[in-house]
């Protein structure tokens, strides 16, 4: 489960519903954009600012013309709605994302972000 390397981004995600969108990685979702176009594709990344990256996209522009885009990046500001796919269990997704963040916080990310050294606890 991928979690941002940035302390600030993890904190933002943890405190907002962006965390749900981040859990959509790998799923196909439809995003309604601010200009009334829509994009349906596989979510490959969502950052703390709700910038979304989708692959294999069917894009319908605001005039209704349909085209395919191999990859699409839409800025958070221009996302109006994200349709959560039916197969996604919203609560479980949020919990998994929170756990991933806590794992990084307490046991250290691989090489970036904060490194914490738990104190030895005599048992």
């Amino acid at each position: 489960m991928e979690v941002s390397h940035s302390v600030k981004e993890r904190t933002i995600a943890e405190n907002s519903l962006v965390i749900l969108l981040q859990g959509l990685r790998g799923h196909v979702a439809t995003v309604d954009l601010r200009d009334e176009s829509t994009a349906t594709g596989r979510v490959t990344n969502v950052d703390a600012f709700m910038n979304m990256r989708l692959a294999e996209v069917t894009f319908t522009d605001r005039q209704g013309a349909v085209s395919r885009l191999d990859e699409l990046f839409v800025t958070g500001r221009n996302v109006r709605y994200v349709h959560i796919p039916d197969e996604v269990d919203i609560r479980a997704t949020i919990e998994q994302q929170l756990q991933a963040i806590h794992r990084v916080r307490y046991f250290g990310g691989r090489d970036k972000g904060r490194k914490e050294f738990p104190r030895a606890k005599p048992k």
Binding site: R34, F49, E71, V74, Y106, F117
Partner: protein, 241 residues
């Protein structure tokens, strides 16, 4: 031909150029602006025709960008960039579809300009797309009311609070951690932090990175115990927060 008054003469960006693609045609609303070089720089997106005139786009005005290989939609593979701004070509010369004419009279509709950057080297599209994603991420929306930007201290506060409970993870102070490094390790650390400090925008304070500004904060000292440990000790710990 045509009045393209938004084209200006300027020098290509010298710094922060994540990707540069020569021999790239720029197209605005279906009209070609010629062949030139696309500069995907951290500060802005610029395109300069071979004659030396061109234009720049600021990332906050870019709504989205995409790789298009759908030859039914447009006959050449390209990088599509949608911008939240008006460019003269849109209203004057460019052919208008019925939809556009209706929407122009609607005050609520935001201006949109569609650019296509068509590289002669199609295999570069991935790299161009990725470079744009990276640069776009450097310019988060300043108008975003929902996000509380004051997060620098928050994660520390949560954990400092938990430290008082005594049975949760603690960590080295910066000085203690340093003293465990060899001379070579310290040199490496300084070099890496220097690189990080340069690449991270001044808004952010990454945890553990000492920049000029953050040195003051660290010297206040966090109240922590100093005890090195083997990771994994805490597999079964319960952490409250």
């Amino acid at each position: 031909g045509g009045a393209m008054s938004f084209l200006k003469r300027f020098l290509p960006p010298a710094e922060g150029v994540r990707h540069q693609q020569p021999d790239t045609e720029a197209v605005l609303a279906g009209r070609s602006l010629g062949a030139g070089t696309l500069y995907i720089a951290e500060s802005r997106l610029s395109w300069l025709e071979n004659s030396g005139v061109g234009f720049s786009l600021d990332y906050p005005t870019i709504s989205l960008h995409a790789v298009s290989r759908d030859l039914n939609a447009y006959p050449w593979e390209h990088l599509y960039v949608m911008v939240n701004a008006k460019f003269e070509e849109e209203t004057k010369e460019a052919p208008m579809t019925e939809g556009e004419e209706e929407e122009d009279s609607d005050d609520d509709v935001e201006p949109i300009a569609e650019f296509r950057f068509v590289p002669s080297d199609k295999s570069a599209l991935e790299a161009m797309f990725t470079a744009m994603c990276e640069c776009q991420a450097l310019h988060p929306d300043p108008d975003d009311e929902d996000s509380d930007n004051d997060y620098e201290g928050e994660e520390y506060d949560v954990e400092a609070h938990e430290l008082e409970q005594g049975d949760i993870p603690t960590f080295y102070t910066y000085e203690e951690g340093l003293s465990h490094l060899t001379a070579e390790g310290q040199a490496t650390l300084e070099r890496l932090e220097g690189m990080l400090a340069q690449s991270v925008s001044s808004q952010y304070n990454m945890a553990g990175v000492r920049t000029e500004d953050s040195i003051r904060e660290f010297e206040d000292g966090m109240e922590v115990d100093i005890a090195p440990v083997v990771a994994g000790q805490f597999e079964d710990a319960e952490v409250d927060h």
